[in-house]
C-alpha cells in the first residue's frame, strides 16, 4: 500500500503539470458554463426583445371583407400595414422572401357571416421561426380583442352578461413544493453536466498514465521496480478517479458561478434556489459521483493499457463518450423514474437519483440500491483493470 501511495503522489504531480489535463479538468469545466450561459442569455433576450418590440410588417388582403378588423389593425402603432399586397400568392412569396411577417386574409363572406352572428373565416399566414413564434402572439392578441368585442356585443344583444358563457372557472393549485419543482426542472440537467465532465476529466490522465507510459517507454522501468502491479494500478486508479471527481466538482462550481453572477435571473428566484440547495444535498450528490468516477477511472485505465499509443487510446475512448451520455439522456425522458430496475443501471441511476435528491423525494432503499450497484460495478471494473495490467500480452502488446 505504501508503494501505491508513492505512485499516486508522483502521478498526481505529473498530472497537475500536464497542460492538457488542466485544461480538461479545470479550465473548460470552470469557464464553459459562465461563457455558454452568458452567451445564451444574451442571445435569447435580444431575440425576444426584438420579437416583442419591433414593428411587425403586416398585410391584410381583401380588407373590404373585414373593415372593422382593418380599423383595429390600423390603430396599432407597432403594426406596419402594407397595402400593396393584394393576392395570397404574392403574400406567400413576400413571406418566404422575409419582406413581410404576417398576412391576414378574411374569407370573402367574412362580414356577412359575422353580421349573421356566424363565424367569419380568417387565414393567418406566416413563415415559422423562433422570432415569428413569439411575435405571432401580438397578432393573435389583436384578433382576440376583435373577437371578444363581437362576442360581447352579441351577448348584450341577447340581454346576457359576458360571464354567462364561462360555466366553469378553473383555479389551479400545484401542491409540489418549490424544491420538488426545482428537482424536476434542473435535477435531470445537472447529472448530464457532471457525468460528462467526470468522464472527460478522467479520460486524458487515464490515457497519459497507461498508454502514455507505454509510448514513452517508461512502463518497463516501472515494472522492474519493487512496486507490484496491484500497487501500480491502485496508485494510477486513485489519480484518475480524483481527476474525474475534480472535473465534475469544478464544472459544478462553474455552473454555480454562472448562476450567481447572472444578471438575467431574478434575485428572488436565485435566493429560492440557494435556500433549497443545502450542503446535505450537495454531499449526497457527490457521494454518488465517487463510485461513478471510480467506474470510469478503472474502465478508462483498462482501455488505455490495452492501447499501444496515446493516439490509439484516444480513438478507442472517443466512442465511449456516447455510451456514457446515452443512459443520462434516457434519464431525461418523461416517465423514467428511480425504481428497483433503473436503480441497478449505472449512470442512469446517478441521473435519476440526483433528480430525486434535489427534489427531496429520494427513497432510502432505492438510494442504497444505487450505491450498491455503483460500488459493485466499480469493484468489477477495478478487477478488470488490474487483470489487464497483469496480462503480459496486453502490457507488451
Amino acid at each position: 500500500m505504501k508503494r501505491a501511495w508513492i505512485v499516486f503522489k508522483k502521478e498526481w504531480l505529473d498530472v497537475l503539470r500536464d497542460r492538457r489535463t488542466i485544461l480538461m479538468m479545470v479550465v473548460i469545466p470552470l469557464l464553459i458554463f459562465p461563457a455558454l450561459m452568458n452567451l445564451a442569455a444574451r442571445l435569447t433576450i435580444s431575440q425576444r426583445q426584438k420579437a416583442e418590440t419591433r414593428p411587425l410588417r403586416l398585410a391584410l388582403i381583401r380588407a373590404d371583407a373585414a373593415p372593422e378588423l382593418m380599423r383595429l389593425l390600423q390603430g396599432h402603432g407597432d403594426l406596419k400595414l402594407d397595402p400593396r399586397v393584394t393576392t395570397a400568392a404574392e403574400a406567400g412569396a413576400r413571406l418566404r422572401a422575409g419582406t413581410l411577417d404576417f398576412v391576414l386574409i378574411p374569407d370573402a363572406d367574412f362580414a356577412e357571416r359575422v353580421a349573421a352572428k356566424g363565424s367569419g373565416g380568417l387565414v393567418l399566414m406566416y413563415k415559422s421561426s423562433e422570432e415569428i413564434r413569439i411575435a405571432k402572439k401580438r397578432i393573435t392578441d389583436v384578433v382576440a380583442v376583435f373577437e371578444k368585442t363581437l362576442v360581447d356585443n352579441r351577448l348584450k344583444g341577447l340581454g346576457l352578461e359576458p360571464g354567462v358563457v364561462q360555466a366553469v372557472a378553473v383555479r389551479e393549485q400545484d401542491v409540489a413544493t418549490v424544491k420538488q419543482r426545482l428537482g424536476e426542472a434542473i435535477g435531470g440537467f445537472l447529472p448530464y453536466i457532471f457525468v460528462i465532465f467526470c468522464f472527460i476529466g478522467a479520460m486524458y490522465p487515464a490515457i497519459d498514465l497507461a498508454a502514455g507510459e507505454k509510448e514513452r517507454g517508461t512502463i518497463e522501468t516501472l515494472l522492474a521496480s519493487p512496486a507490484g502491479r496491484g500497487e501500480i494500478v491502485l496508485g494510477k486508479f486513485a489519480v484518475v478517479t480524483l481527476t474525474g471527481l475534480a472535473s465534475a466538482a469544478v464544472s459544478m462550481v462553474g455552473l454555480y458561478l454562472s448562476i450567481k453572477l447572472s444578471r438575467d435571473i431574478p434575485g428572488a428566484l436565485l435566493d429560492a434556489v440557494f435556500r433549497i440547495i443545502e450542503w446535505k444535498t450537495i454531499l449526497l450528490v457527490f457521494s454518488l459521483l465517487l463510485p461513478l468516477a471510480a467506474c470510469f477511472a478503472a474502465l478508462l485505465l483498462a482501455v488505455s493499457i490495452f492501447a499501444r499509443t496515446f493516439k490509439e487510446a484516444q480513438s478507442i475512448m472517443t466512442p465511449l463518450n456516447f455510451l456514457v451520455i446515452f443512459p443520462v439522456f434516457i434519464g431525461l425522458f418523461p416517465g423514467i423514474t428511480l425504481d428497483p430496475l433503473t436503480a441497478a443501471v449505472p449512470v442512469l441511476n446517478v441521473s435519476l437519483a440526483t433528480r430525486e435528491i434535489i427534489a427531496g423525494t429520494a427513497a432510502p432503499l432505492l438510494l442504497a440500491e444505487t450505491y450498491l450497484s455503483l460500488f459493485a460495478v466499480a469493484a468489477l471494473s477495478l478487477w478488470f483493470c488490474s487483470r489487464q495490467f497483469n496480462r503480459e500480452e496486453i502490457i507488451f502488446r
Partner: protein, 255 residues
C-alpha cells in the same frame, strides 16, 4: 549472480501475424525463448548477443520479472523470479536504449521517485544521490524539467535512476541503441564500473564492437535458442572465422 535453467517463453500470435506468415504454424503461438540456460557471475560482464528478434529482450524481461516463463527457473541474487519476484526487483537495475523518462518531472524528482519505490531511507538516498549526481554531472540541471534536457543529459538521468538503489544485478537491454558516440561511451563506462564494483552485469547487444570491448562471458542467441555459451576468451580461441562478425554469422547460419 543470475542462474537460468532451461527457460522457455511462448507468445500468442495475433490474427494479423498469422495472416502475414508464409507458412501457417500448426499452433497459434511462437516460442520466443526455448531451453535457454546460462549463469552470470558477480564481477563479470555477461553479453547476450543475437540478431533482432532472437529473444534477447524476452530473456532480459524474464530476468527482470516482467514476464513469467512457461518452463524452467531463474534465480537472480538467490531469489526465484516467479515466487519471489519483489525480492528480485529490489536487487536489480534495468536500463534499455529506448528507456523513456517522465518529461514533466525534474531529474531530482524522478530519482527520488524510484528511490522511494525501492524503500530507501532519506539519509541513504541523499548520500547516494549526491554521489551519483556529482559523478554524472547532473547537479547543474537537477531541477530542470526533463522535457527541456538534451538526449545526453537524459541518458545520464536514466543511469542515475537505474543505479540509485545500488543494485547488485544490473540488466542492460541494448543500452546504446540510438545514442550518439559520446552518450554511448557513458554507458560503456557505466557497464565497466558496475563490473569493477563486483556487480553481476548482463547486457544484450547486436553490435560486435561492444562485444569485443566488454564481454567476460558470451552467449549467442538465435531464434530463441542459445547457439553458444561460455567465457569470451575461449570463444575467441575457438573461432573458425577470421573476425567476430564472420564467426557470429557462421554460428547463426548453422543454427
Amino acid at each position: 549472480m543470475i542462474e537460468v535453467e532451461g527457460i522457455a517463453k511462448k507468445f500468442k500470435l495475433s490474427r494479423k501475424q498469422l495472416r502475414e506468415m508464409e507458412k501457417r504454424p500448426s499452433q497459434p503461438f511462437v516460442w520466443a525463448v526455448d531451453g535457454v540456460s546460462f549463469v552470470c557471475r558477480p564481477g563479470r560482464i555477461f553479453t547476450l548477443l543475437g540478431p533482432n528478434g532472437a529473444g534477447k529482450t524476452t530473456t532480459l524481461r524474464l530476468l527482470a520479472t516482467m514476464l513469467k516463463p512457461e518452463r524452467g527457473r531463474i534465480h537472480v541474487a538467490g531469489y526465484d523470479t516467479v515466487t519471489e519476484a519483489e525480492m528480485v526487483r529490489r536487487r536489480i537495475g534495468f536500463l534499455t536504449g529506448s528507456t523513456g523518462l517522465y518529461a514533466r518531472l525534474s531529474p531530482a524528482e524522478l530519482v527520488r521517485y524510484y528511490a522511494d519505490l525501492h524503500g530507501m531511507d532519506r539519509g541513504e538516498f541523499q548520500k547516494r544521490r549526491d554521489d551519483l549526481f556529482a559523478l554524472l554531472g547532473i547537479d547543474e540541471f537537477a531541477h530542470r524539467r526533463i522535457a527541456t534536457l538534451s538526449s545526453g543529459m537524459k541518458q545520464k538521468v536514466s543511469i542515475a535512476r537505474t543505479m540509485i538503489h545500488d543494485p547488485e544485478v544490473v540488466i542492460f537491454d541494448e543500452p546504446t541503441v540510438g545514442l550518439d558516440v559520446v552518450t554511448a561511451r557513458h554507458i560503456i563506462q557505466l557497464i565497466r564500473s558496475c563490473r569493477d564494483q563486483g556487480k553481476t552485469v548482463i547486457f544484450s547487444t547486436h553490435i560486435m564492437g561492444e562485444v569485443a570491448l566488454l564481454s567476460d562471458d558470451l552467449a549467442v542467441i538465435h531464434r530463441g535458442r542459445l547457439v553458444h555459451s561460455g567465457p569470451f576468451d575461449s570463444f575467441r580461441l575457438q573461432m573458425k572465422s577470421r573476425s567476430l562478425e564472420d564467426e557470429f554469422i557462421r554460428l547463426v547460419g548453422e543454427a
